[in-house]
């Protein structure tokens, strides 16, 4: 414990070099966030219920005509899923901010970008992925033509991952504000538009019988860019928020 040159009067506490252990920290953060979210099931179900409700209302509000619904179904499903994902973003860092865990996260001797990415991964796993799996079921309600269901689920799974990553930047920037929800939407929605265009485009192309690979490839490319840049932006945004 004491270093060799310490005298009896003034012992010197040994200091640690940074240990690394990023994998341990990442695993623990994933596990912690998953546990927390699964204990607050209501919060996990909220976006899914919102998604289902919105899609249920369209046939009632517009027309039950299958042809009309089928024409607008890709866009409707994508817009509703996007808004559902957006709805759940505000709480991504908020509870951590309020109970002081966030400042502890910032003081961890680990790269903040990686820890932030772990939190985003949990968000996608419990929001984006369930939305993507649920979409085909809701597609039936909108008489979405058969053959496009797999593309719908896949485009949403890839697309919502980008949505979570980009949205987390906005959530990190607005976490210090008392009512950041509206600002968050304004910040993030413009960045969501390319994903919406190519996501809905992929489903549309599947219905038309065109090639879907181009759309999916662009969605994948957007995800790759988001994966590369968003973690750093999230980390920087969290630092700014804590500074305020």
């Amino acid at each position: 414990m004491h270093s060799s040159n310490a005298t009896i009067d003034a012992p010197v506490m040994s200091m640690h070099d940074p240990k690394g252990g990023l994998v341990v920290a990442l695993n623990a953060t994933l596990k912690r966030d998953l546990t927390l979210m699964l204990r607050r099931r209501g919060e996990v179900l909220n976006p899914l219920v919102f998604f289902a409700l919105v899609i249920t209302l369209f046939p009632i509000g517009i027309s039950p005509d299958p042809e009309l619904l089928a024409a607008i179904a890709p866009g409707l499903l994508w817009v509703a899923a996007l808004l559902a994902a957006l709805l759940s973003l505000d709480s991504l860092f908020r509870s951590d901010y309020e109970d002081g865990s966030l400042e502890q996260l910032l003081l961890a001797p680990q790269p903040l970008a990686a820890l932030g990415l772990a939190k985003v991964a949990v968000h996608w796993l419990l929001t984006g992925l369930p939305l993507a799996l649920m979409a085909p079921v809701l597609g039936i309600m909108l008489s979405l033509p058969a053959g496009s269901y797999a593309v719908l689920a896949l485009s949403l799974a890839v697309g919502t991952a980008s949505l979570s990553l980009i949205g987390a930047i906005g959530a990190a920037l607005t976490v210090g504000l008392a009512r950041g929800g509206v600002l968050l939407s304004l910040l993030v929605l413009p960045l969501y538009i390319p994903i919406l265009i190519f996501g809905a485009g992929a489903v549309q192309a599947a219905i038309m019988g065109d090639g879907v690979m181009a759309h999916l490839a662009i969605l994948g490319a957007l995800l790759a860019v988001a994966l590369m840049l968003a973690p750093w932006a999230i980390a920087a945004s969290l630092r700014i928020s804590i500074n305020g």
């Binding site: 640690h16 204990r39 865990s101 910032l106």
Partner: protein, 206 residues
Amino acid sequence: MSLCLQARQLACERDDRWLFEGLDLDIHSGEIVRIEGPNGSGKTTLLKILSGQLSDYHGELYWGGAPMHEVREHFLANLLYLGHAPGVKAGLTPLENLAWYQALSGEQGSESAREEALAHVGLSGFEDVPAGQLSAGQQRRIALARLTLTQRALWVLDEPFTAIDRHGVGALEAQLVAHANAGGCVLVTTHHELTASPVLRRVQLG
């Protein structure tokens, strides 16, 4: 590298008002430094600056003689900061809370060590109760268990005695003194009178 946190000409402005200016501070191994001042005098802000959380200040910080931005990782690996909010997740049990904090510093830790740390702060029997069901003082004690669990040289504690009962206050004070005597150092704000600390140094703000 020796345990030494230095601040030179530290100044911080909030809302067109200088909280403090030209503050020089040397904190060495074996010291307990208490930041004093009335409410709103910038105690928490100073602690946040000294623990490397705020970048919005004037002046220089040195850790072990080297500028802070060069040795930030080493500094963080030796810092234990307990803020105003205890940083305890209401949805997790005390054991789960501690497990996450241990993992953040890169160690798996053992369940028995965590149980021991909880027993040390008087929470045996509450290991598996969600922290949200515990009292404010008990939640604070979960955070304080990290002092026992994680070996860090520099403790920065913002109002650690909040919501702690009289017996707990005595035990915590003894723990601070023991840490300083073992060669660590403690930086603390509190309105509580520290009586058991022979090596107490005071820094007056405001």
